[in-house]
Amino acid sequence: MLLKMNKISKSFGEVAVLKSIDLKLEKGQLLGLVGENGAGKSTLMNILGGLFAPSRGTMELNAEPFIPNSPNDALKAGIAFVHQELNLFTNLTVMENLFISDFPKKSMLGLSFLDRKKAIRKTDELLSEMGLSISPLAKVDQLTAAQQQLLEITKILNNSPQIIIFDEPTTSLTRYETEKLFSLIRKLKADGTGIIYISHNLEDVMLLADQIMVLRDGQLICQEDKTALSIPKLVKAMVGRDLDQYFPSRTTMPAEENLLEVKHLFGGLVQEVSFSIRKQEVLGFYGLVGAGRSELARLLYGLDPFTSGNIRWKRNKISKPSPTKWVHEGMAFLTENRREEGLMIQQSIEKNIQLAGLTKERSLGNLIPKQIIKNKVRQQANANKIKYHDISRQAVATLSGGNQQKVVLAKWLLLGPELLILDEPTKGIDIGARHEIYTLTNNLVKAGSSILLISSDIEELIGLCDRILVMSEGRLTKEFQKGSFDRSNILAAALHGQEKDEKR
C-alpha cells in the first residue's frame, strides 16, 4: 500500500468540511476523485499536500506514519500537486522555473552559485523527455497555455514523486494536448507512480481511472473499481439523487422581433460576422478554442474596438459600444475568466452582487438606498442558491467555483438584463451547480430576456439553445436550428476551416 489516509476529518471553525474519510492508493494506480464543488476534494488533497493539518485522522506513506507540516515536507516525501492554477513564475525563464526551489550549484572561491550550464543541460534533457520543444531560456510568459501546463508537470517530475495529484489538469488544453497529457499519465502509472486525478469531466475520469472515489458534502460516498461504475451511477453518487433531466426544459419560443442585429463586423480575429438575436431567444456559439467566439463577444460589448461593422440594438444604431452603455441599455456579459474579470475576489459576496445593479437604484439626491439594495442582493443570492454563511463579510475567494459563478450571475441578474452574454458559464463547474445555472438562465428567458451562449460543450448548447451558430477562424461557418441539431455536423462545421488549412 503506497498511501493510506485513515478517518481524516477537518473542520474550519464550526464547519465540518471532511467527515472521517478513508483513502487507499496502490503503486501504479490511478484514483479518480470526483464530487461537486465544495464536496471537500480540495481540502482532502491539501491535507495530503501539507497545506492543512487534519483535525483528526492519520496518514501512512509506504506503511509509515506521514505527518507533513508544510508543502515542502510533502514535496520531500514525494507527493507532488499539479494545481489547477499553475504555479509558474511567468517573469522567469523555463530553466529558472524548473529549478527555482533548488538550483544546481557549483562553488568558486568558497562561494556557491548557480551552475547555469548544468541547469540548462538538465532543462534540455527534461524538456525533450516531455516532448516539449522550447528553449530553456525562453520566458514563461511567451509560452502557450498548454506548454505552460506541460512545463508545470515537467517541474514536478523533476522531483521524481511517488504520488502526483492532478487537479483539473485539462481545463486549458485542447483535445490533442489532452491526449498527449493522458499518454504521459499512463506512462507514469506504468512506472509505478500513484496518481490521484480530480476532474469534473467524468468521461476522462472513467477513461483513466482504476478506482474512483466519490465525495459529497465532506463524506465518502464510495471508493470502487471503475468496472463497477458508470457515468449515471457516478452522477447519482455525486448529486445524491437522479438527475432525471440534465437540462431543464423550457417551453418558450423566440419572438419575431429582433433584439440585436450585427452586420459585417470586423476586428482582430473576427472576419465579417453577421447575425441577429431575437427576443426570448437562446443563441449558441460553438467553435474550437481560438475560433474567435470570445473575441466577437468582446467586440460586441465594447471591450475591444472593432474596425468596421454595424450594430443595432432594438433598431437603434450603436456606434461606439461600451460596457457602460450596454449596462445602461440592459446587456450584460459574463466573461470567461470569472476570477480575473468577473469578480472582486477579496471582496464580500454582497459587494460583488450589488456592483452592476447599483446604477439602477438611485433615490433622492443620487444617494444609494442601502437597505433596498441589501434586500435585493439577499433575495438574488438566495434565488441563485449560493451557499454562504455571511453575505456581507465572507469574501468571494472562499467560495467554490460553482458558487463563485453563481455570484457573478447574481450580479448580472440583479440588473435585469434584456440580453445576457454567457461565455463558457459552466467551465470547471460541477453537475449540481450546472443544473442550477441552467435553471436560472431558463427562468431569465421565460421572463422575456435573450441569451447569447458561448460554449465548448456541444451537449450544453444542444440542451439549451434555440439556434446554434458555428464559428471557425473568425468566420461564421454554419447555422443550426433547434430540431436539426446534430453533434457530428456541428463539430464538422467547427473543424471545417481547419481542414481547409491542412489541405493547403
Binding site: P71, L75, N87, F89, N91, I100
Partner: protein, 324 residues
C-alpha cells in the same frame, strides 16, 4: 498595421533608455565641447557613484514589489553621525563600520514591520523616512557639519588609478549583478516579486528574502551616504533630500517594474543612473537654469514610461494575435 514594427525599430525601442543615453551624450557633446572629454566622463561617474550604489539597493527592493523611501534619510543620518564622529577625532574606519551598521539596522526595522506586522512597505518606510531625518536633524542641531580633510582625501583618492567612488560603485554593481543572476537568492527575489504565494508554495522562505533585500537596501544607502559625503566639504541639513526619488527614478529608467519581478541592476539601473547624471552634468556644462533640471528629469521619466507602456500594449496585442 502600425503595431508590427520592423525588427530594428523593435530593438531600438526595447533599449529605449540606452538609446536615450546615447542621444543625451550626443546632444551635450554638440553643444559643449568640454562635455565629451575623458575627464568629464570620469566626473560623471564620480558624481554618479553614490546614486548608483543607492539605486542598486533600491532595485533589490523594487524587484520584490516593495519600495524604500527611507534611503535618503539613512544617507543623511549616516553623514551626520560619521561626520560628528570623525570631527570628534574617532578613526575613519570605525565611523564607517558604525554607520554601515546603522544602515543595516534601518533595513532590519523596515523588513520587520513589513513581514512581521504586514504593514505595506510604503507606509513603513515613510515612517523611517521621517524618523531618520528627524534623528539626523536632532543630532546635528540642524546645523551644517564641516568635514575634515581626511574624508575628502578619501573621496578624491585613487586605487590603481581608479577614483575610490568609482571603484566602490563598480564593486557594488558587479556584486549585485552577480547575486541577482547567479545565485539562488537572486532568483528568489524575482520569484517573490512576481507572486509571494506561489513562492511560498515553491518552498521559498518569503520572509527571509524580504529581510535580505531591505538589509541590502539599508546597507547600500549607508554606503552611498559615505561615498557622497567623501565628496563634500560639509553636510547641510538638506543632504540626501529627495535621494530616494532619484534612486527610484534611476531604477525605473533602467527598466525595473514597480510591480516587482522585472528589472536588472546591470545594465538596467546603472544606465538609468548614467542617464540622470549625464543630463545633470550636461545642463551644468551648458549653463542651463538650475531650475530646469528637475523639469527635464521629469520629462525623461515621462518619456521612458510612455515608451514602456506602448511597448507593453504592443506586446499584449502581438501575443493575442500570435496565439490564434
Amino acid at each position: 498595421m502600425k503595431w508590427i514594427l520592423n525588427k530594428n525599430m523593435q530593438r531600438l525601442l526595447d533599449n529605449s533608455t540606452m538609446v536615450l543615453f546615447a542621444l543625451t551624450v550626443l546632444f551635450f557633446s554638440l553643444l559643449s565641447p568640454e562635455f565629451f572629454s575623458f575627464n568629464n566622463f570620469f566626473n560623471i561617474l564620480v558624481q554618479g557613484a553614490a546614486l548608483a550604489i543607492l539605486a542598486t539597493g533600491m532595485t533589490f527592493v523594487l524587484l520584490t514589489a516593495g519600495i524604500d523611501l527611507s534611503v535618503g534619510s539613512i544617507m543623511f543620518l549616516v553623514g551626520v553621525i560619521s561626520g560628528k564622529m570623525v570631527v570628534s577625532g574617532l578613526p575613519l574606519w570605525f565611523a564607517g563600520v558604525i554607520v554601515l551598521g546603522i544602515g543595516l539596522a534601518f533595513g532590519f526595522v523596515n523588513a520587520l514591520f513589513i513581514f512581521r506586522l504586514k504593514v505595506i512597505p510604503f507606509i513603513v518606510t515613510l515612517a523611517t523616512f521621517y524618523a531618520g531625518r528627524g534623528l539626523g536633524l536632532l543630532i546635528s542641531d540642524t546645523r551644517a557639519i564641516n568635514l575634515p580633510e581626511s574624508l575628502l582625501k578619501l573621496g578624491s583618492g585613487k586605487i590603481w588609478g581608479i577614483p575610490v567612488p568609482i571603484l566602490l560603485m563598480l564593486i557594488v554593481v558587479f556584486l549585485a549583478y552577480f547575486i541577482l543572476t547567479r545565485t539562488n537568492f537572486g532568483k528568489h527575489v524575482y520569484a517573490v516579486g512576481h507572486d509571494p504565494e506561489k513562492s511560498r508554495k515553491a518552498g521559498i522562505s518569503v520572509n527571509r528574502v524580504l529581510l535580505k533585500v531591505y538589509l541590502i537596501c539599508g546597507f547600500c544607502a549607508a554606503l552611498g551616504g559615505l561615498v557622497a559625503i567623501s565628496q563634500l566639504g560639509a553636510i547641510s541639513p538638506t543632504f540626501g533630500l529627495q535621494s530616494e526619488f532619484m534612486a527610484i527614478a534611476a531604477a525605473i529608467l533602467g527598466g525595473t517594474s514597480l510591480f516587482g519581478g522585472r528589472g536588472s541592476v546591470f545594465p538596467g539601473t546603472l544606465i538609468g543612473v548614467l542617464l540622470i547624471q549625464s543630463i545633470q552634468n550636461g545642463l551644468v556644462m551648458i549653463n542651463a537654469d538650475p531650475y530646469l533640471h528637475p523639469l527635464i528629469t521629469g520629462s525623461i521619466i515621462f518619456l521612458i514610461v510612455m515608451i514602456d507602456s506602448l511597448q507593453n500594449m504592443r506586446r499584449k496585442k502581438a501575443k493575442k494575435l500570435g496565439l490564434n
